[in-house]
Symmetry: C2
Subunit: 471 residues, 2 copies
């Protein structure tokens, strides 16, 4: 699914939306009155273009064009998705929504990035309330999948459904919030923790860095993969959730926290927190911090993806939706992808083990092509690699686009020989080659045996075709 | 650093402590009056023994013995570390502490796992307050590094310092809490979020699963690596922390949340939450959930380790502290490790690419051994792999102990040939072999050149020694 998106109001959030859409093949038009908009959004786009493709094993779609336009009307005319990310003042939002609705299609999704307003507030006085909803993203928008999608009772159900389909198609997770409420869901938690953190710093119990460590060395690791309730379910042990609640529930009545109060936001408190934050992270510029954050997020998300768990499962499903069947070109193009940050080693280049993984991925694609796919494996057959010889011809770095081509050199009975070549997409340089010898095995006996007839026939055809052209 | 640890009171928390100590070579004595203690702690130990070694590239220390004893006195006599994890009632804690102090060394660390009591409360009426402190861990204790270490004014500074050294030596992160406060630090956040989550479920705004998704697809991913303040610093963009506070601070005065109230803990609320949790996760047993959680945590922590960031940096440092220099046996034992869960593929065994990574790790160890170490690389020289031939002889699975041995087959000028063999530790089965051809390069020109004299001399010695024995 593709189309055109209008981004109204930019900054970090609008830029993140623009990047998500454009990298997933949507045409993007941006209206942002900030004279610095193009530079700021360009920086977000550069960050996004570096890391988003690293989440995928599938080749990325062709990038959609991004255009900066001078008026709201130019941006929204004919757009399928309109994302409003202007400052958090209701009068400004109302004015911009009116301007959008004067020029946009009545079928378009008109979504607001607001964290502070409910959809019914945005809809006040609108020409067409039905197309207005909240689609609240989380920074960095180009990496975090969560979107709180909040319609009101006046929102059009068909447009809401389409909004969910579009968000899923660009790799996001629409959390349909079932009743509108101030601050939606996630920000209510952030608010609660922020408030408590302010007290702890103000009272000298902990510094900003100590608080960060208390989160990221402990429960932050739990929440990144299970959230709150599933974590507590596990904590309840064999007796489960009820047992956990019986144990932990009463704590809520203890006079533990100062959460009922809001610390006064004095200059002293601001100085204290800003000073501690400088001491903690001031040696890094904002671009360094962004890069650090993004590399960490890529690594965490890829780790979860490899496990097929939590946000990694979302990416895995999206990745599968991006895969196309192999064509019948000779040689077969079996891998097209970007080298992710978790593949490099102390020498600053792709570790030799990852070449082996790439060639393994290439043969897995070939397997799917010849019918030795997941169902075939589930039914008890597979190919195991018996021997590989890899020549490393040039260095490869994180962020580079690469391509692997594969020929069937021999397909006879249980034996299969593949010849892979890996190229850099930018200049077609040959980076590595691999001779791979595989054996067909029964997953029951773990011993070699001939492939099933449809796989053998497909291999025969490929071996003949590849031999002709090679000769 | 090693010694003996006494675990008083078991369950999931005590068992996690026991596992941490034993896997890091400490002798462990456990006293737990629960008749099911040995089974329950045994299960925690089995979980821990499966996953903790996966965090390390270094070989694990010899496991310390675990003994179950019949009295507190037997457990604590001569122990260097005593960990109290009995139920959260102050009268019970006081009684157990008295019993411990009647039999333990006055120099031992006497730490409590309590989340509910301050150290000064634990110290009331104690024979020796100085050795008592809080060491509050987070579940699973065998994977999460955070320990909130909370002394009171009466705690002995030398014993607190030793406690921090011991925790660091067993791979944990002691967060020295500078002033005692109810619920320490992290649980205050958990409390705040839990309270808000209860309202959201009770009011029908979100289900437990939607709340979990709102966390793990969004801010949970941020917190796992940066915590709260560093995340917001980045959100502040170029203008930094002050700008963020100026933007976000005022929100605290909005009437957003119901945080000032505690929902009444009725049967209806318990039923609602337990029912939703069943719908979300009831298809998995508690052991499945634990395994899922642990695999995810291993994958996330290893991903952060590869980036050298957040909790991964802690593990990296600890890993380095566990490494020993190679001996001079022939062949050299270059790798001893456990196969982690993130190394397996669709066939359920270690992916062929990881064999290449293991042999790459083996040659990196050899490099350190011959003086081509991190400083050598930083000064502009390294070895790059030009060609590898790997034979895969048997399948390898997550959790298996493996060993790589390495011979120098040729070390002449810029050329280096290594011969690696990989064995399963359990039965010494040969799993794979690798011929590896490397070239010495200048990192400035990225072209081959001869190694520096001390590296060349070390290689000559090894090549001669290895040739003699091979011949």
């Amino acid at each position: 699914m593709t189309g055109s998106a209008a981004i109204i109001g930019g900054g970090v959030i609008g830029g993140g939306w623009a990047a998500r859409f454009a990298l997933m093949r949507w045409e993007v038009r941006i209206f942002d009155p900030d004279p610095e908009a193009e530079r700021k959004i360009g920086e977000v786009m550069a960050n996004a273009a570096r890391v988003l493709p690293m989440l995928y094993e599938a080749p990325m779609p062709t990038r959609g064009a991004i255009t900066y336009v001078g008026t709201v009307a130019e941006a929204v005319a004919g757009a399928d998705w309109i994302q409003e990310s202007v400052p958090e003042r209701l009068d400004i939002k109302h004015r911009v929504i009116a301007e959008i609705q004067a020029a946009c299609s009545p079928d378009a999704v008109l979504a607001s990035s607001t964290s502070g307003f409910k959809p019914s507030e945005l809809q006040q006085g609108a020409a067409r309330s039905g197309q207005i909803m909240v689609a609240h993203p989380f920074n960095p928008v180009y990496l975090l999948p969560l979107i709180e999608l909040v319609p009101s009772a006046a929102s059009d159900a068909a447009i809401v459904t389409r909004a969910k389909e579009i968000l899923t198609a660009i790799g996001m997770y629409p959390l349909h919030v079932r009743a509108e409420i101030d601050a939606h869901i996630a920000d209510r938690f952030l608010e609660a923790v922020w408030r408590e953190a302010l007290w702890l710093v103000k009272d000298g119990i902990a510094t900003t860095e100590e608080i960060d460590n208390a989160i990221r060395y402990g429960f932050g690791l739990r929440w990144a993969q299970m959230g709150l309730f599933e974590t507590y379910r596990v904590a309840g042990g064999e007796a489960g959730m009820r047992h956990f609640m019986a144990q932990f529930g009463p704590c809520l009545q203890w006079p533990w926290t100062k959460l009922t109060d809001v610390p006064e936001f004095t200059d002293e408190l601001v100085d204290l927190i800003a000073g501690q934050s400088d001491a903690q992270s001031g040696h890094m510029g904002i671009r360094d911090l962004e890069r650090l954050r993004d590399n960490n997020l890529v690594a965490i998300l890829r780790a979860l993806k490899q496990q097929g768990a939590a946000a990694g499962k979302l990416i895995l499903d999206h990745d599968n939706s991006l895969r196309a069947s192999l064509g019948d070109e000779i040689p077969l193009v079996t891998v097209r992808r970007v080298v992710p940050v978790d593949w490099t080693d102390i020498n600053g280049h792709m570790n030799e083990g990852r070449y082996g993984q790439l060639f393994s991925d290439a043969s897995e694609e070939l397997m799917i092509h010849i019918g030795a796919d997941r169902e075939y494996i589930a039914a008890g057959h597979s190919y195991f690699t018996a021997e590989t010889s890899i020549r490393y011809l040039a260095e490869t770095h994180a962020g580079e686009d690469i391509r692997v081509t594969t020929r069937v050199a021999l397909g006879a009975g249980k034996k299969l020989k593949l010849w892979h070549q890996m190229h850099r997409a930018a200049d077609d340089a040959l980076l590595a080659t691999c001779d791979q010898f595989l054996l067909h095995v029964s997953l029951e006996t773990r011993r070699s045996c001939p492939p099933l007839p449809h796989v053998a026939a497909a291999l025969d055809r490929l071996a003949a075709a590849h031999a002709e052209v090679t000769a």
